[in-house]
Symmetry: C2
Subunit: 104 residues, 2 copies
């Protein structure tokens, strides 16, 4: 059977702008966010192609999750991460679209 458990993350009211901006201000993490912005269904950690090891990738995903930028739930042995677009758009309308509008 395929379990589906959500990992701990801040409630919408607990999200702080400083933490979000700090999370987004790291090249690798920003790339993850840009990737997730194009994948509404989320992606598994291992499917993210980046020039860092798996442990570093897990570290960045954790930072983003704890900042409230993304949400992660377990599906079998995989962990699917997806952008918390609703929460971010509600808290900081325009922020995400502005960031994503930036040239690569």
């Amino acid at each position: 059977m395929s379990t589906s458990k959500a990992l701990p993350q801040p409630e919408r009211e607990e999200i702080r702008i400083e933490t979000v901006l700090q999370a987004l201000g790291e090249p690798v993490r920003l790339q993850i966010v840009r990737l997730l912005a194009e994948l509404p269904d989320g992606i598994a950690c291992g499917e993210i192609d980046l020039p860092v090891t798996a442990s570093t990738r897990a570290h960045h995903l954790r930072i983003l999750r704890e900042a409230g930028v993304l949400s992660t739930h377990t599906e079998g042995t995989k962990r699917i991460s997806s952008l918390r677009r609703d929460d971010l758009d509600c808290l900081y309308p325009g922020l995400l679209s502005g960031v994503l509008a930036a040239p690569r």
Copy 2:
């Protein structure tokens, strides 16, 4: 006579989103930006009331200026810093308003 020289700062095309986000992701700097958002005419370094020394303040202003977030010009012995709202809104529409919409 009152000279008015602009300090070196990146052109609009040279501004990079990673640098901007990293600059904004620091509490003291974010507070400076929030303050400047309410003062279109800018403010002098010494008039910014923050719990850090003058040298730290100068440091943060430099980071923000070099990131392209704000613009500084000299007026006599004072240095007036102001938000580069036009450039930021053009490059990343919505980002600034989203950040400023965040609860204090």
